[in-house]
Every structure is written in C-alpha cells, then in structure tokens.
C-alpha cells in the first residue's frame, strides 16, 4: 500500500494509533442516526447559548454557528508535553523580543533582525518606547497556530500576540462533549481544561501596575455586542467574574482610568482589551474612533493602568517578523527552538521574490498584515487566472507578501454526510504569560470541513472540534 500523502491523526497505516483506542470503540457503538441526532442536539445547544459568530459583510441577523465536529482530536500526554514546552519557549522569546525592541534593540544592533522590519513595521508603536509594563510583559495571551505533518513533526504557522480568539470554543466544545459522551470521558481520562478562566484571571491580576492599591480591578474591554467575537468576550468576563466594559463605560481622570458605575466612578487597574491598538485611544491613535477611551494611553504610559496585551505587541506577530522567531529563541534564551517554523520566502527580498513568482502554483501566499484567511492564495487549489491575478498584486507591492510551501497538513477523522472522513486540521493552544507561563492541556482544533481544503478559518467555513490530552497508558 502506498504511504498516505498526509499524516492521519487516528491511523498509522491500517493500525489505530493508541491515542484513539477507546474512542473508536465507543463511537462504533452508535448508529449513524444516533450520531446525527447528537449532532443536531449539539447545534441546538450552541444556538440556544448564543455561541454564534457574525460574518462581516453579511446581514446583521446572520448569526452563524461554527460547524462542530464530534470526533475529538487526541494527543498522548508525551506528545503534548513536547508541544507545551515549545509553545512556552516561544511565548517567552516573543515577550523578550517586545521588551527589547521598545528599549535598546539589542537584537537589531547584533544584526540578527533587519532594523527596517521592526521600526518601519505598521504595528510598531513609537509612543510606547521606553515604557516598562509590569513584569516586562507585553503579550499576555498568545495563541500559537500549529500544524502537524508527521508523528513528531509540528510546525508553527503563526503567532497571535494581540487578541487571539476562539478560546471560548475550546471551553464550550469540551462542555458539549462531556454532556453528550460522558462514557468517553469516564474511559479515556481526558485532562481537564477548566482551569483556563481562573488562570487567565490570575494572569491579568499578576500584571497590575505598581500604582495599584489593594486587590487589582481587571476588566475586559469589548467593541460591543455586534463584534464577531462578542460571545467570547462576555463568556470570559462571566467565567472570571470581571466586568465586560465598552469604551464609553471607561473614562480617564488625572492619573487613572475609571469605569462608570451606579455607585459612581470605580478605578480600573488592568484592561484586557479585545479591541485593536488603533481604537484604544482616539487622542493618540484613530481620532474618529468611538470605541476607545480618550486619554487612556497617557494613563498607560504613566503606569496608572495595565493594558493587556500592551499597545505595540503586534510587532511580534507580524508574518515577516515570524521568520525570525527561531533567531529570537537563540538570542534571548540561549536555547534551540523546540517547534519548527515553516520555511518562508519574504517577497521584499529580490531572490525570494523571483522564486515565489516562478513557483506560485505550489505555494501558499499570505499578506503580511492579513488575518482570518482573508486575501491569501493557496496555489495548488487555485486556477491559472487566479494565480496570475495574484502575481500582479505581489509585483505591485512585494513587501506586503510572504510565501510558504503548502504543507502536508495532518488529517483527523471528521463526521461528514457520508460518515467519517479525513479532513485537514490545525491547532491553536492558548499560552498565558504573567507571574508564570501557563498552558492548559488542550486548545482549539480547527478543521477544514470541505474535502481537500487546507483553509480552516471559521470565516472561510472551517469547523471546530474538541482537543484531548490523555495519559499515554489510558
């Protein structure tokens, strides 16, 4: 038999991988119509809870469900531990980098990263140069997107250092699975992830500014109920017992930031912002923004409030800066990277540009500042005309693009209309950085629901599934 083109998370050739032993046995006991019923039940629960997302550009009543797949994606603990070390290592290096580029810029002086890549980066924030946030941490919640191509072969696709979303799905997927398949959990000894909200609250409180007196008051700042991730914002606030505020609920008076309450102003010490830098403070950034807080940046600069993640943190998750993360790990930590980067061609380099243009049909090309799977080219899945049109875009502004080989993303068995079928998956674990670095055993597995598709983003029709870490001998 030919070696399958893609690593299958469940099967090693014909043989079941140990991680999936109990699960396949238990699922085989359900008739197809029973499973269909369970799936419908899960979707009803999602809709009733209001776990929906809005797709920009559609009618405002288009509240869509993310397709939920009931077959979990399973890691053995030994596999997971290595991933965990790799993610934490990366989170430490990214924060060291952020501290460095807003202070002496040693990594640039040493010639390891080109200066223009950092200082001319749109996400570089000159107004925070020289400021020291609590514990020197800039990025407190880091979502690292990983794919797998072989047994021990994990690649980092990208780092999300500002406001990675999806953690509510990680938690809700688990809730739903526990409700529907209690037997599975009983047998498989799945490691719990319930600690995430507490860990996030501890992380936020551990970075309160020095001027904070007594118990720190932390809040979540949302753009409002019409934002596509609003459910997640309210879910996290609820789970942590923190106020969910909008810009208009906050105001600045003197050295501090306050929220408007029915008992008058209450001081706020830590803001977990789920809005972009550009909207944080209309006096400092986008003057037409109504979602921000006028004067907030002054309070931040003078140490009256901590903003999580810190303004300017985006310079570390840029798709061009990404290529230097292994270098950061060596430079700041003196360690070898545990997780690999995907080889990346940067179109601003003439040689790379030539290669990319000649091999477009085999590559994945992304916009340096793009996100959510928008505006990318998947060469092998595109028509000749699409490839040519994209080539034109690259030529007109090479620095805005990077290219990567199409990876042989692993597949995970997924329930589709015809039964179980392999579909490509990625993984986003959520790393918390505060007084310590925390990673719960699990993450969000995203799955491309269409056969052969490599695009897992929910905005592009991707689905989600629960991610399990189980003991090796379970």
């Amino acid at each position: 038999m030919d070696k399958p083109a893609f690593f299958n998370e469940m099967y090693d050739g014909e043989a079941l991988r140990p991680a999936y032993a109990h699960i396949v046995e238990l699922f085989s006991k359900y008739a197809p119509d029973e499973l269909a019923l369970k799936k419908a039940e899960a979707e009803t629960i999602f809709r009733r809870l209001g776990i929906t997302f809005a797709v920009y550009g559609e009618e405002n009543n288009a509240e869509r469900l993310i397709p939920f797949d009931m077959m979990p994606r399973v890691f053995l603990e030994s596999e997971w531990r290595r991933l965990e070390r790799g993610v934490k290592q990366r989170a430490r290096a990214l924060n060291a980098f952020l501290w460095d580029v807003y202070h002496r810029g040693e990594i640039i002086r040493s010639g390891r990263i080109p200066a223009e890549l950092v200082y001319q980066n749109a996400a570089y924030e000159p107004s925070v140069v020289g400021i020291t946030p609590a514990r020197k941490i800039y990025s407190h919640i880091i979502g690292i997107d990983l794919v797998r191509t072989g047994l021990g072969e994990f690649y980092v696709l990208e780092d999300n250092c500002r406001t990675p979303s999806g953690v509510s799905y990680m938690l809700e997927n688990r809730e739903i699975m526990m409700r529907m398949f209690p037997n599975l959990f009983h047998r498989a000894r799945v490691q719990p992830i319930d600690d995430y909200p507490d860990a996030l609250r501890r992380t936020l409180k551990s970075v309160a500014p020095a001027k904070c007196e007594g118990e720190p008051c932390a809040v979540i700042l949302t753009p409002g109920a019409f934002n596509s991730a609003y459910y997640e914002h309210s879910f996290l606030a609820d789970q942590m017992g923190l106020e969910l505020v909008e810009g208009s609920d906050l105001f600045v008076d003197g050295e501090f930031c306050y929220m408007r309450t029915t008992r008058g102003p209450k001081r706020v010490d830590v803001i977990y912002r789920r809005i972009d830098d550009a909207f944080l403070d209309p006096l400092c950034f986008n003057p037409t923004s109504l979602v921000g807080v006028p004067g907030l940046m002054n309070v931040y600069r003078s140490g009256g409030v901590q903003i999580c993640s810190a303004p300017g943190a985006g310079v570390a998750d840029d798709k061009a800066v990404y290529t230097y993360v292994p270098e950061m790990i060596r430079f700041y930590l003196g360690e070898e990277p545990i997780l690999k980067n995907v080889p990346t061609w940067m179109c601003h380099k003439p040689d790379d540009l030539t290669y990319v243009l000649e091999n477009l049909k085999d590559l994945v090309v992304k916009e340096v500042h793009g996100s959510g799977g928008y505006g990318m080219l998947v060469g092998p899945a595109s028509t000749k005309a699409e490839v040519e049109a994209y080539a034109g875009r690259i030529k007109s502004d090479p620095a805005a693009f990077i290219a990567q080989p199409t990876l042989a993303l692993s597949t995970s068995p997924t329930f589709v209309d015809s039964g179980l079928a392999p579909r490509h998956v990625d993984l986003r674990p959520y790393c918390l950085v505060g007084d310590k670095v925390t990673l719960v055993p699990g993450g969000l597995t995203r799955v491309a629901m269409r056969e052969g598709s490599l695009v897992v983003n929910s905005s592009q029709g991707g689905g989600v599934k629960d991610t399990w870490v189980i003991a090796d001998d379970a």
Partner: protein, 314 residues
C-alpha cells in the same frame, strides 16, 4: 455595577413586560370582537386596542381600517412598530446580550429561545392569534421564573425589577384607561350587558377574574374593578402594588449605594399618595384624569431613575 449594565437590565425587563402587556391587550381585543355588536353603538374594539397600545398613529400610517388581522400583524410582527412583540423581544434580547455577564445563563437562554422561536413562527405563520397571545405570556413568565429562581439578589436584581414594575404600572393604567375612556364612549351604555362583559374581559386578560371574585365576591362593578386595579395592595398588577415594589427596590439600591436619590423621594411620594387614596374620590375626580396623571408621574419616575443611576451618561 456598570451604569450601562444597570440600564440594559432595566430596559430588558421593560421590554419583556411590554410583550406581555401587548399580548393581553390583543386578548382583550379578540374576546370583545366575539361579542355581538350592539347595533353599532360602540367603538371598534381593534381601534381601542391600538389606542391603548399607543400605536394608533403608527398603524394609521400603514393601514386604512383596523381589522383583526392587520392589528394583530402590526402588534405582533411588524418591524415598523417599535412596540411590536417581535421588536420588544429583540430589544430585550439585545439588552440582555449587552448585559450578558449580569444575568444567569437560564435568563439569557429564556429570552434567546423566545426570540428565535418567534422568528420561526413568523416565517411559518402556524399559530392562531389566541395561541400567539398565550405563547407570548408564557415566554414572559418563563423569563420571570428563570430570573427569580436563579438570579443573585444584587443590585442587578433591583434594576431588573424596577424595569418590570415601572412598565407594568404604565400598562395597567393604559389598560384601565382604554376601558374607561375608549371602549364605552356613550354614557347610556354604562351598567349594561356590554359594559359588564367588557369589565369581565379586562379582568380575564389580566388573568385576574377569579382573583377578583375571591377578593370582592358578587357582581362586577366599575368601582370594584377600578379599586382592584388601582388600590388593591394584593393585586399584583395594581398601581399601588407596583408603586410599593418600586419603592422597595429603590430603597434596596439606595441602602447598597449609600445615599437617597431624587428617584427614592419621588417613588416614596407616589406610594404614599396611592396608599391613602380612596376609590370614591378617584371616581369623583374622573378615572381618565386620574390615570393620565399616573402615566405622567410614572414617566417622570423613569427619568429620575436614569438620572440617579447615571443611565445614558457618556
């Protein structure tokens, strides 16, 4: 609590109570429409219903005459009517979504399911008017139940209840007014069969006709119904009962917040005035005038609550 959250809770309750009131009004309408017409002697009950809902003008902009189906459509589903059950449910849902962290999942799910189900029913047009009215009242009861059995007794609870009772007082006053002022404009019909039937229908719509008999026994008289809906402290929809609840929840809030507000003083005066009022004096003054005064004072109280707890302060 964030002022915005308090405001959202207050409004969510007002909107839910309004869906309930609209359903009850429609019920009054269709029960009265079943009554044989007394030789054209009395006004069109659907016009009365629209007037009581404060929706007569909005309706007239779209329709010529108030038929049963147009009135029901307008009061239940119409997007252009800000007080339609559909719009009120959506507004309640949006408010609770904005205050999602201040309510339990049971409360949120109650309103979310109601709204989604209403959209389905709108698409299917499967239910009759009586069924829709029953359904709406039941949704309101489910939310109320979820709220009282799961919600923390904190200031959010008080703001939510303030919304309920401010809205309910307004609705009771309007419902009573429609009987007094709109339905039977000619004095010679007072005390007749139609008059009696209308009082009974009003009580039925308030789920109160049995309670009324327990409380007063014997025949229905306008004085007794007016007393029941204005001054009876045991009737959960009476103006006095609402005033007492408003006073109580405002007292809780001012105790927790450490200071009396203008809303407290105003509500205490309202409660006091109703508590010492006599029904014969109200009848002598004119029930319509009295109710108009109540509706105006209620509106002022609404403004004072907002000012006291910084609603809408940007």
């Amino acid at each position: 609590m964030l002022s915005r959250t308090a405001e959202s809770l207050y409004w969510a309750a007002r909107y839910m109570e309004r869906t309930d009131a609209t359903a009850r009004l429609l019920e009054v309408g269709y029960r009265m429409a079943m009554m044989p017409t007394a030789a054209g002697g009395h006004a069109n009950e659907w016009e009365s219903v629209l007037a009581a809902a404060g929706a007569a003008q909005g309706f007239a902009d779209q329709f010529d005459a108030a038929t049963k189906s147009d009135t029901a459509e307008f009061l239940i589903f119409d997007e252009a009517n800000p007080s339609s059950i559909r719009n009120c449910l959506r507004a309640a849902r949006n408010n609770l979504r904005a205050a999602r962290t201040a309510v339990t999942s049971e409360v949120w799910e109650a309103v979310n399911e109601s709204y989604l189900r209403l959209l389905e029913m709108e698409a299917q047009r499967a239910l009759s008017l009586p069924e829709l009215c029953d359904w709406t009242k039941r949704q309101s009861a489910v939310l109320r139940g979820a709220f009282s059995t799961t919600q923390l007794r904190s200031d959010g609870y008080d703001f939510f209840n303030l919304g309920y009772y401010v809205e309910r007082a307004d609705n009771t006053a309007r419902l009573l007014d429609v009987k007094y002022y709109v339905l039977l404009p000619t004095i010679d019909m007072v005390g007749g069969e139609i008059d009696r039937f209308q009082w009974l229908t009003l009580l039925r719509a308030l789920s109160a006709h049995r309670a009324f008999h327990w409380a007063y026994g014997g025949d229905i008289s306008p004085e007794q119904v007016a007393h029941f809906l204005i001054l009876n402290p045991s009737s959960p929809r009476s103006l006095l009962f609402c005033a007492e609840q408003i006073d109580r929840h405002l007292k809780h809030l001012s105790l927790a917040n450490g200071g009396r507000t203008p809303a407290d003083d105003f509500a205490a005066d309202m409660f006091e005035a109703l508590g010492t009022a006599r029904i014969d004096a109200i009848m002598a003054q004119g029930v319509h005038d009295f109710l108009t005064g109540c509706i105006e004072r209620n509106a002022k109280l609404h403004r004072l609550i907002g000012e006291s707890y910084l609603f809408g302060a940007m």
